[in-house]
């Protein structure tokens, strides 16, 4: 088996006995050596100065680790964490109970009534009923608008009644007055509306009324 460079014997005399003892030395702090292995280690360490120093260093290292004082998390850190968690829990509870005492259960869509499963939501997203209060009127208005649009599309449109003869006569008088006024304005301004333009506007109206009611008023 190829030895890792870091496992090369940097300590000890380098002989076979030293290499074997180094392996025992690595496991010595765990207290897993058999009595025979422990005796071999101590006997060799007594004869080999380098391995003896290594054993002494291993003893001091284990002793220093045991003497290290226990560290405790500062109360300010724990307090800050628990405070933040409690605040987040209160905010979450507030959102759930804002629409009435039923809490989250009272605002769930009745999926079971429709025999379907609620839609899967992305990790971290919140269901509609738990969203902030300000978004509910927006949702309601959007729903009403959608229903109105659907109604407009689906309900049959009622025919617009044709204007009566009196309405057409009144409209013609208004148009004449408007044209007279414009003519006066035009004369004062030095412009005039040609007769064929006026006729092109009036004639279609007369024809439409004549088709609907037989006789239309004369101009």
């Amino acid at each position: 088996m190829r030895r890792h460079p870091e496992d090369e014997d940097r300590f000890g005399g380098g002989g076979p006995a030293c290499r074997e003892v180094q392996a025992l030395l690595d496991a010595w702090p765990d207290g897993e050596l058999s009595p025979a292995e422990l005796a071999l280690l101590e006997r060799h360490a007594a004869d080999c100065p380098t391995c003896g120093d290594d054993l002494e260093a291993a003893r001091k290292l284990a002793e220093t680790f045991r003497a290290l004082p226990a560290l405790t998390c500062p109360p300010a850190v724990t307090g800050a964490v628990l405070g933040e968690a409690e605040a987040e829990a209160r905010r979450a509870d507030g959102r759930r109970t804002e629409t009435g005492g039923a809490g989250a259960a009272g605002r769930r869509w009745p999926w079971r009534l429709f025999g379907v499963h609620p839609p899967a939501r992305r990790h971290g997203s919140r269901p509609v009923w738990s969203r902030p209060v300000w978004s509910r009127p927006v949702w309601a208005a959007a729903l009403v608008a959608a229903l109105a649009a659907a109604g407009a599309l689906l309900l049959p449109s009622r025919p617009v009644p044709a204007p009566s003869a009196q309405e057409v006569a009144r409209a013609e008088v208004e148009m004449k007055l408007a044209f007279a006024y414009l003519s006066r304005v035009g004369r004062d301004a030095g412009v005039r509306v040609r007769d064929e333009v006026v006729a092109s506007v009036i004639a279609p109206t007369r024809r439409a009324v004549a088709l609907g009611e037989g006789q239309g008023p004369s101009l």
Binding site: E6, D26, K60, T64, P69, P74, E84, A89
Partner: protein, 174 residues
Amino acid sequence: MLRLFHDLVGEHQHRVFTFACYYLGDREEAEDVTQEVLLRLWRNIDRVDPGMAGAWLLKVTRNACLDALRSRKSRRRLFVAGLDETAAESADPDDRTEAALLSWDVQRHLRRAVAALEDPYRTIAILREVQGKSYQEIAATLDMPLNTVKTYLHRARRKLREGMREVSCHAASS
């Protein structure tokens, strides 16, 4: 959930803080990491199995420590002063004997030596030597074969022995 979180924090806060302290060698950074890790536990409280919270916290703490190291401006900032103050606070104020002071100095060097180890030696040394985890626990937490954990720990111990040997030589010559 809040009660469960309280219980888990009470059980694991010191362990998380200790690991971060020894890993980073900086008390202030360790406090920040501890706070971040425990808040992350709260935000994942419904996904973490309470029985596996220790292993989960260790992984998250180690990753948070690695992130903290990456964000450091200098590559190797062995800023152990804060950690030494922590240890000094917990020492007996009435014990000012030479042996006590020497012991405190040796501990300071050991902490520096641990913080100077490269990963995964550093992680395994902290888990085994400081927090007393078994090889099986370490192997399960780090998702490593048992023999690999042992090999890495043995290498870590050799490096630490070498580092402490230099301290002993320096103390003997002074």
